[in-house]
């Protein structure tokens, strides 16, 4: 067998387009959400471990690194959730037309930013009421 037999798909020969980018992002955010799962787990475990552990967790989540991680987590979760709903519609056979899937793709992108913004603004306001 020749070593130069053609393989598929070769990502490098495709023109970048919304469906493809969102599909790749679904995987990347999925892996990222694994790290988010670790953070939520840490939070649950810290509650069970007592007030001292809880305040350590709170200090970490309030640090710059913690905030960056939680922001990435929020963005990934909202995106994966919305794009996941898009995938579920495809699973029942809806929204396969190219124009529809492009529209739903851009809707997911817009709503991801809007919802992330709403969540962070609400969290900011609520945090201030506690202090």
């Amino acid at each position: 067998m020749e070593k130069t037999r053609p393989l598929s798909p070769h990502l490098s020969i495709y023109r970048w387009q919304i469906s493809m980018i969102l599909s790749i992002l679904h995987r990347i955010t999925g892996v990222g959400l694994g790290i988010g799962t670790l953070m939520i787990s840490y939070w649950f475990i810290s509650i069970a471990s007592g007030p001292k552990s809880y305040s350590t967790a709170q200090w970490f989540f309030d640090s710059i690194l913690g905030k960056i991680l939680i922001f990435g987590f929020t963005l990934s979760l909202v995106f994966h959730l919305l794009n996941g709903i898009r995938h579920l519609f495809w699973d029942i056979g809806l929204g396969f037309e190219i124009s529809t899937s492009k529209k739903s793709g851009w809707t997911v992108v817009m709503l991801t930013f809007i919802f992330t913004l709403i969540i962070w603004l609400s969290a900011y306001i609520i945090k201030n009421t506690y202090e």
């Binding site: 892996v31 694994g34 799962t37 939520i40 649950f44 069970a48 007592g50 809880y54 579920l88």
Partner: protein
Amino acid sequence: MKESKKNLGSAKYGAHHWWHQRVTAVALTFLCIWLIISLTLLTGSSYDAAYNWLKHPLVTGLSILVVVFTIYHLSLGLQVIVEDYIHTEITKVITLMLINFSCLLLGLTCCLSILFVFFGGN
């Protein structure tokens, strides 16, 4: 004969992985909305507030469901990625074992923590 073997595939349970991923996805759609709202409301809260929130039976139940479904969904997703990109059989098997073991340990630890609070620990 043909009818009874429909959707089974050559391995007899071929669609299970796919189906479980969808079932957990649908459940997680609702559970994650609940979790996002709850955690947003708890941002910056005191230990007592978080503790008493988690102690409520409904919250305990939903939290355990979130943990179990999330970690199962995560392990199914990671499995697909490993199968797509790792082609050496032994590396693949070891990676999958590590993923499954880590997921199991994480899920168990979380559930025990949640139940510990529910039963009044600390």
